[in-house]
């Protein structure tokens, strides 16, 4: 009866816990090894310029992954992040370059982005279409709204004379690049939200068992919508950071595999795609791993195809590890009932 079902589930659960724990540990260890290895083998790797560049690119990836983790913990996924980021920021920049005050343009961009997030969230929550299909389909829709309707050029330079944007991209406080500080701040805020707010705890409950969350009286649908809106806004913030550190933005970013790198970070760090597990610490570990890997491969001068090949392999391995560690065992849990 249910006793033995519990027994079974307990067995798999224990396995899950230990593996997940070690997954985070293993990934961290691998990162260290890789870092040391690259430092010894590649003469350019440990130069201060490269380390800063590494940290910077890692910050962007890490912040996107923080946003992504918010939906992944709630058993969702958001593949629209990069399209949202590009459309929101490019539109704001274009308006600013057309003469609108930058702050006002950014505000409108934020509204647009929040709207995108809301639409995605509403589709997932009310039409109950699996998030992966919803966001896979919404990504080109969002980009399509951007490209012919809101802007037509690919490259847009950052508006002139906005000092804080320059500071954000190139400045440093206390000897640490501001980009990294922003990453740290986002991580801290995300950590506080996930751990200590009603909203954050509800996301864990939803990701763990949506049916139980609903039955307990949690506002499952509003939370879902809020999740996607927050993720979109995090993506927008990342877009502004990119704008600052590159002095401009290219809308072709939406065509890159960036969103898959983000997913790679989330999964590698040990946030199970089955939801309810992991936190900010996992994202940071995953970010360090992927950042080091990407940076090393770039210095090794591997071709883009070779890099994608390696990344995809790592991603695949991580996904397999994830299914082994965090099985979705609704079926097995019901076996053996009389």
């Amino acid at each position: 009866m249910s006793v033995q079902a519990g027994e079974q589930a307990r067995g798999s659960q224990r396995k899950g816990v230990s593996l997940r724990f070690s997954q985070e540990g293993i990934v961290f260890l691998l990162t260290m090894l890789m870092f040391v290895g690259f430092s010894i083998l590649l003469p350019n790797f440990l130069t201060s310029g490269n380390v800063i560049a590494l940290m910077r690119s890692v910050s962007v990836l890490g912040m996107l992954a923080l946003g992504m983790s918010l939906v992944v913990i709630g058993r969702g996924v958001d593949l629209t992040m990069v399209s949202t980021l590009v459309v929101g920021v490019v539109w704001a920049v274009k308006m600013a370059n057309d003469g609108m005050p930058f702050g006002q343009a950014l505000f409108y961009g934020g509204l647009l982005v929040a709207g995108f997030g809301m639409v995605v969230g509403l589709i997932v929550a009310f039409a109950e279409i699996p998030p992966i299909f919803t966001t896979l389909a919404m990504a080109p829709v969002i980009f399509g709204i951007g490209n012919p309707f809101l802007f037509k050029q690919d490259t847009h330079n950052a508006p002139q004379g906005v000092t804080w944007l320059n500071e954000l991209g190139f400045g440093a406080s206390f000897g640490i690049p501001n980009t990294i500080l922003v990453f740290a701040a986002v991580a801290l805020v995300m950590h506080l939200i996930l751990r200590y707010t009603r909203f954050g705890r509800s996301i864990y409950a939803m990701g763990d068992n949506p049916a139980a969350a609903r039955l307990s009286g949690l506002p499952v649908r509003p939370i879902t919508v809020a999740q996607y809106m927050m993720t979109a806004l995090v993506a927008y913030l990342v877009g502004i950071v990119i704008l600052g550190s590159n002095s401009g933005i290219n809308s072709r970013l939406a065509y890159t595999t960036l969103v898959y790198d983000v997913l790679l970070v989330v999964v590698l760090g040990g946030i199970g795609l089955s939801g309810g597990r992991g936190g900010v610490r996992n994202v940071i570990v995953g970010t360090l791993f992927v950042g080091t890997l990407l940076s090393g491969m770039t210095i090794l001068n591997l071709s883009l195809t070779a890099q994608n090949f390696i990344k995809s392999l790592v991603m695949l391995l991580a996904l397999i590890a994830d299914t082994v560690a965090n099985p979705r065992d609704e079926q097995t849990s019901q076996q053996g009932d009389i």
């Binding site: 659960q13 009603r198 609903r214």
Partner: protein
Amino acid sequence: MDTVLELKGATKDFRGVYAIRDIDLKLGRGEVHAILGENGAGKSTLMKSLAGVHQLSAGEIYLDGRPVTFSSPSDALKQGIAMVFQETNLVGSMTVAQNIYLGEEKFLNRLRGLNIRAQTYLLSMNFDVEPTALVSSLGAAQRQMVEVARATHHDAKVIIFDEPTATLTPEEKHHFFGLVKRLKEKGASILFITHALEEALTHSDRLTVLRDGQKVAEGAVSDFTRDTVIQAMVGRGLSDELYGARKGVELPIRTSRSKILSVDNLSMGKVVRNSSFSIYDGQVTGMFGLIGSGRTETMKIVCGALKRNVFHGGEVRLNGKPVRYRVPRPAMRDGIVYVTEDRKLDGFFETMSIRDNIMVGKLAAGSNPASVVSMSQAQDLAEEWTKALDIRAINPSSKVIELSGGNQQKVVIAKSLVQKPRLVVFDEPTRGVDVGSIVEIHTLINKLADEGIAVVLISSYLPEILSLSDRILVARQGQIVEEMSAAEATEQSIMYAAVH
């Protein structure tokens, strides 16, 4: 009697929990044999053991006098035993013919040949189904014919049905028993599980009654009456001490204070049909019903977990005010909570600790999403409730999944009670729970009612209903058909109302 199938000392346990024990059964050629019993009596386990789904832990099966074992359902089918399961296993997007021969396709298939074979077979059975029709376009009775054709087209000697009529309309039932008759005429023996006494008494030759996994009665239908069957189904000695009949002695029956909930003509699809009843605070209302009675669905509608029909869905009034909940949240905010019958499915959160599980109840009760969760408050709450319900764990940070069934159930109950409900629905609160915890949960239920909370207790176990309830509602085929005071109810009178 020419015996086709014989069962000697059939025993099946699931890790030490006996589902059936020492059952003997004889099935004659061309005999229709009904299997009766309460929920959990072991009917399905027995049939599944015969059909190769389960393997017996002990005992023998003889088919035509030879001892046989079945390693799988397809093995049983090869040897001549076919089972038609409760939930149909047809592929909706395929045609009738494709479904009948599913799993036997050759490397190359000509649809025409398949259709002709199917047509011939269906005609020989006198089934009125078009072989080229898509299964998704068929009604329940026709689906069942396809299911039967699939199970029997290679001359099964024994055909087993698991509650074949549960989902059928009266007319479809009529067709079904016509089909049983034709199968019988072709020399097949039929075993069928049913909750409907009349069906068993009218359409079968012999019947067997199971109770708590053991055979309690067997014989020709003519030896039984409705009353003797019911007597056999409920008569019990095992657990009388645990469920001491409450009548009069220790716990006086609580008289109703005021009506908290009234339900009129509640309907949802075919499951709940025009059900009407009331719930009063300060007492335990027991709700009994067999499978298909719609009792869980009825209460889930009240609690917002399911939605009733938009038109002619009936009316639910909470303290006189009409309410219609689309999700459980507003119901919870109005003080109605539902404690699930399947805690693993929608009860607890398995990755979370006891503390966090209980905290979810508290989280859901609040409204401001940005408000901060105080860890010390959560800890206090967890300690308070683990103490109040005597949840045995190393500490409140233990994972719920590591607890015993009884303690898991207590966590689920605590999660609901932190929401300070005025109406609590317990659905099978002691299923898969150890004996010690059963007593504690029962004490808790009584305590809640004494505090003035309206408690609804859904249970398949009559002694549980009788020992706790002040008032008893009996559900049958989607309706509350009988209301009785605990003072006058007996196992027989409840079962009499519940069967049809």
